[in-house]
Point group: C2
């Protein structure tokens, strides 16, 4: 098999100490950095920014492409993708160079088999797309109206269908990084879709937990959990006919929430038009409550977890849900750091999930900018 240069292609590597994976995209170091250095949450942004590479009719990062004068959502392939479609498919176990070195050492009879147990890596293929939520440079989901967010939901669904039709794509991760505090490299509201050949670690852990739960109880873990939370009430933030938003019992981030479909649906493509609109509705309400907590643009990472598109049956181990992970703790600028103890030992939080839910329940669903003026 051909020798594989780690420095040239996206791949993932296994951590034998924690049995987890990390993805490596070396070519990506070249991407430009437009992220602000904090403090972007209080300033007023213009509706159109002539220097923004995501605004309509402007030229894009890299300078080669030009955005159309789009009027609703707008999707394009990431100019600096973490994963690529055209990457060669090598099968890799240990790099040839290390094997050579190892073989030349006398007292290492089984050094190669050690390398095979400890150094595992595999190629990652995929595609990355950027989804601009609307032409407006200044409108996040917290201030968009339901129909504008519905356009985003429909765009995600359309792209999801297109990407999942590709033979080699088995999982599609939709996410948004909002705010420079969450590493967002451009303040124009947008999200991303990374379509991948393999199911990544986090959804794959959720899949096995849900599978195990189903095997033990013959019921869906999240269906049971929603039933429990709906009856208890202490951690519910808001809901509509199709979705409930709650602070999970096991939340890590101070104001973390989980948005779960009330019906047992697998992924975005299973939503009917009413449910699509209900998803837009709940997203607007959650985002708006967040902005109202500190009367500022509330940063977060949001992601959608649903069934893989790997051609396997997932009725029993998947249930559509969204995670919101916002870093703020005390104010518009003071975040919770998941550092020393959290990295080395165990995530740690200060306020309880019940206290966070109560605080979020107390926030209005009318944006503070509307009421303050």
């Amino acid at each position: 098999s051909q020798s594989f240069d780690f420095a040239d292609y996206s791949h993932r590597r296994w951590n034998p100490l924690t049995d987890s994976w990390v993805m490596c995209s070396p070519h990506r170091s070249k991407r430009p950095w437009h992220g602000e250095q904090g403090g972007d949450s209080l300033g007023q942004k213009p509706a159109y920014d002539p220097t923004c590479y995501l605004c309509p009719s402007n030229s894009r990062a890299g300078g080669k492409e030009m955005n159309p004068s789009y009027t609703s959502t707008f999707v394009f392939p990431n100019d600096f993708p973490a994963v690529q479609e055209t990457q060669p498919v090598y099968s890799w176990s240990i790099p040839a160079t290390s094997t050579d070195n190892l073989q030349s050492v006398a007292n290492t009879e089984n050094m190669q088999s050690i390398a095979h147990s400890l150094l595992k890596a595999e190629i990652v293929r995929g595609q990355c797309r950027v989804v601009c939520f609307s032409p407006r440079h200044d409108l996040t989901m917290a201030e968009m109206d339901i129909d504008e967010i519905l356009a985003v939901v429909k765009t995600w669904t359309r792209e999801y269908i297109e990407l999942s039709a590709k033979e080699y794509i088995n999982y599609i991760q939709i996410f948004e990084n909002k705010g420079s505090m969450m590493g967002c490299s451009n303040p124009h509201p947008h999200g991303q879709m990374w379509a991948l050949g393999d199911i990544p670690q986090e959804p794959s852990r959720e899949l096995s937990s849900m599978k195990k739960y189903y095997e033990e109880h013959s019921r869906c873990l999240l269906c049971d959990y929603v039933a429990l939370e709906t009856r208890d009430g202490a951690r519910i933030v808001c809901e509509n006919d199709s979705f409930v938003c709650l602070v999970p019992f096991w939340a890590v981030w101070p104001f973390e929430t989980l948005v779960v479909s009330k019906h047992h649906l697998g992924s975005l493509v299973d939503l009917n038009p009413v449910q699509q609109k209900d998803l837009a509705d709940v997203m607007r309400r959650v985002a708006c409550r967040y902005d109202n907590v500190f009367e500022s643009s509330f940063p977060y990472s949001m992601g959608i977890h649903g069934a893989p598109c790997d051609g396997q049956p997932h009725a029993n181990d998947c249930h559509l849900h969204l995670h919101f992970y916002p870093p703020l703790l005390r104010s518009a600028t003071i975040k919770k750091f998941l550092v020393g103890f959290e990295m080395m030992a165990e995530p740690q939080r200060d306020l309880t999930p019940e206290q966070a839910a109560e605080r979020l329940r107390g926030c209005s669903e009318i944006h503070y900018k509307m009421t303050n003026t």
Copy 2:
């Protein structure tokens, strides 16, 4: 059993979706915040800061205590500890209130058993100590000399022995958050020791991986890994007789390193005086190389993983090592964000571990401030 109010006591909760734990310390919301808002890495700090609550002879956070005029390391109990010794020991399964609510609902025959499967929590007891590295407000490990760092190693060891002698303490996590970017709430160089009743998640994952590896190979995972890396060389940063510093094959953070004992030792208490000095030496060299990467004070979280002090034999599943997790990627101010995709799907890195090791190997072990003047 007595009813337990989550809002009053430290506890940990289980995440059934990912089979992981989170620690919750609600009383800790009251702690003061002295962390800077970024940009602290370039300014010159004074050797003594009259407003610092960690400097000798100053009054501490909370105002009740006064620091002695210490001249080497100085240890005191955290004024705002995440875990407490005196906490009552309740056994908890589901909060009484939710049980009541649930029982009153007609069509929920097994709602209680669902709650028992999904909502798990347990009490956390422990003690938190702060270790000031030296009286100097301005000297991090990168600029301290070996003997000064040796005093820190000896202090950790002494405290470790004292804490581990307590019946209910089963694990001691030693760590340092360096720099405001890593949530350090006071720039005076210091670390922390959290002594706990339970083995937290991360060391406990490492323990099971190492146990499994030993069962399969009758050898220690980290002994094998060190042998492999020493022969290959591509990921080695520096070493001495007792320790090797390398960028692990599976590193997540751009310049993450792992410092491993070359001998099969369990924890800090197993180091002889020469090895203690070698640990001080390797820590100084790693910290100094880090500062030299961008000629700035390089932020990181550092943590020591060793054998639990739970009275069990750990010769086969533990091997003393230190993790350094530094966030910087491109410059003294631009860090790698582990956000959207990383949180929702899988950690992602840009430069390869081999490239990072090469860069760190290229850095001097003489601090840039010494050579620039």
